[in-house]
Amino acid sequence: MSIRSGSELRGQVNLQCDAVVVGTGAGGSIAARELARAGAKVIAVEEGAYCTSADFNQREEQMLPMLFQDRGGRTTDDLAIRVLQGRGVGGSTVHNTNLCKRTPDAILDLWHDRYHVTGMRAVELAPAFETIERDLSVAEIPIAMRNRNNDILRIGAEALGWRGGQLKHNRVGCQGSGFCELGCVYNAKQNALKVVIPQAVLAGADVLSDVRAVKVLHNANRVRGLRAEAIDREGRIVAEITIDAPVVVLSASAVGSAALARASNVPDKYELVGKRLRMHPGGVVAGRFKDEVCGDKGIPQSYECTEHLSFEEGSDRRVWITTAFAHPIGTASVLPGFGAKHMSMMRSYRHFSVLTAMLHDESMGEVYLGSEGRPALRYEMNRSDRLQLQKGLRACAELLFAAGAEEVVIPATPQVIVKSRRDLDRIDWSFGKPHSVPLTAVHPMGTMPMGDDPRSSVVNSQGEHHQLRGLFVADGSLFPTSIGGPPQISIYAFAQHLSPHIIARARH
């Protein structure tokens, strides 16, 4: 009934429980809470540290390595896409921008009709969504808290007659500091770290931070437990841990869970584990405005443009547009070039409005085990997605001009500076592809998809592995396809929805 650091452990440690949860983000925190509330003895292990608002200091160079996997340096194996994933108690909910959107009904219908997912349509998931939204105080972001960067997006969308709207979030007591991606020093985020993990602990769950899962133990098609390593702050192994348990819940993200399943030689007759990786890769476009924008201040994302977003499979409208703004280090990393020209552009920092075109992607990548057994990602964007990216970058540029930008900068190599909306027609947009424009992905998903057909899914619609009794998945790995929007609420809710099945198995 506590949160302890595994770095305090030494030697060989043996533990027993009813269920082990791997990862403490949106999915793992809910699974741990619901198991504990049902009276199960549950241990949640987390590779990263336990940090609270007192540990956050709004410094990029200190928070990026602390809160993100691979010290913020994770990329696809071809170095084309930066992949930002959380590390530490609370997972990605600690650094995300708190956007709350339910899984689109059309996506849930698609999963039902095409991917044999049962019991997960909108009406069936509604109670779980309602529970999560209540627990996390989800509400529409007050218009008064919309910063100028987001207002530019609104103005652009309205000027063009494009579909858009205010977003929902899970913050209470937000001070509008704009440092959400570095952890909230004001503790305003109603996330796994602040809300759900404490509830889990209160209900009796044990949380072990600084513990890296190494292998799911299993034989005779039944889960037997987990082998893990306790690590100190320098990453040195200080203890080896064996946890005997009949249930293991993988909630270590679509990257971590799939990598652990592969490292554990989990049965995979149809070679599906780790495949079908989607991740919403996104590119940015910056507009330079005469007046100050100060995009680094206030709630980073409060408005969306959905004009180019449709959830039909094979649609040619698969771009979600919202704002993107970074602090100096993040901005400097994305702007093209270097040296004096780069610095001159950085001097416009306060005058930039930045939008991102995030793809509802159909390309399928793979999570595999790289050197030293660490997760590695292979992802090659297909032609259709490249066209969507180009379309999205152009749409961002149109929005910025419609809102009054003096010029638009596309951080391609070589960089593209556009002086008017008319000039957009003269551009050959084929430069819009990985390696030519910086891309970032923050939503890996789909690597252990659910469904009732073992030939096309890794776990069933209750989240349990088709061949390995007692192995559950409760994170974004479950998604059979991209969901085309921020996934945190879906992950929380899916874990909530699947929990009765996990509890039932833990009791047998």
């Binding site: 200091n57 709004q58 410094r59 990029e60 160079e61 200190q62 990026l64 390595p65 691979d70 010290r71 340096g73 990329t75 071809d78 170095l79 084309a80 001070q175 500091s177 440092f179 020093v185 320098e234 990453g235 680094d296 201040k297 602090h327 100096p328 280090i329 400097a332 990393s333 093209p336 070039g337 270097f338 040296g339 004096a340 020209k341 780069h342 610095m343 001159s344 950085m346 001097r347 920092y349 306060r350 790289g370 050197s371 030293e372 660490r374 090659e380 190599t413 070589p414 990985p434 390696h435 910086p438």
Partner: protein
């Protein structure tokens, strides 16, 4: 017969270039000397790597006006050395290897035969531009990663913030840059 993809060929070329850089690094590590105040203080970089990274940093973070602090004032390379201590081992190895690639192989992309640290400033810029726009994704991506690390070292320093009119943290400072 197995199919040879364009991606596979490119990857092969990239790996070849990196391997060449690695070999070059083994045979040409002489002629680099640390400044006195750095001796015995570096945690990851050796004298050659420190010298190469300093040369790269001075071009990547080159100032556009006299109000910008230098890489020495902001200790960009010292920061990278400290930051690299806790990097995953593979990432650390790739970083150090990439420094060798820039030093020994990079100049070839801009039609120079001397090593990077021996080139004039404009030639160094040409080498880095060639890497940034290189057709081989690993070189382009490697440079982007290195650039991000150097900018982290530079823009972490509050003395750079007035250039951007960036106000910095809203809370009182915890920890030093």
């Amino acid at each position: 017969m197995s199919r040879v993809s364009r991606r596979g060929v490119l990857r092969g070329i990239g790996v070849g270039i990196l391997a060449l850089g690695g070999v070059a690094a083994l045979v040409r590590t002489s002629g680099y000397e640390l400044p006195a105040h750095r001796r015995g203080k570096l945690r990851v970089l050796d004298a050659a790597q420190f010298t190469i990274l300093t040369a790269i940093a001075s071009r990547v973070c080159a100032a556009d006006a006299s109000d910008a602090p230098s890489i020495e004032e902001t200790d960009v390379v010292g920061f990278v050395d400290s930051f690299a201590v806790s990097m995953p081992e593979k990432m650390k190895r790739d970083l150090l290897l990439f420094l060798s690639v820039i030093e020994h192989v990079g100049p070839l992309f801009a039609k120079h035969v001397d090593r990077f640290t021996s080139l004039g400033l404009s030639s160094q810029d040409a080498v880095l531009s060639a890497l940034e726009a290189n057709d081989e994704g690993l070189l382009r991506g490697g440079f982007a990663g290195l650039k991000a690390l150097l900018f982290m070292g530079y823009y972490r320093d509050p003395r750079t913030w007035p250039l951007l009119q960036y106000d910095g943290p809203t809370i009182s400072q915890v920890g030093s840059p």
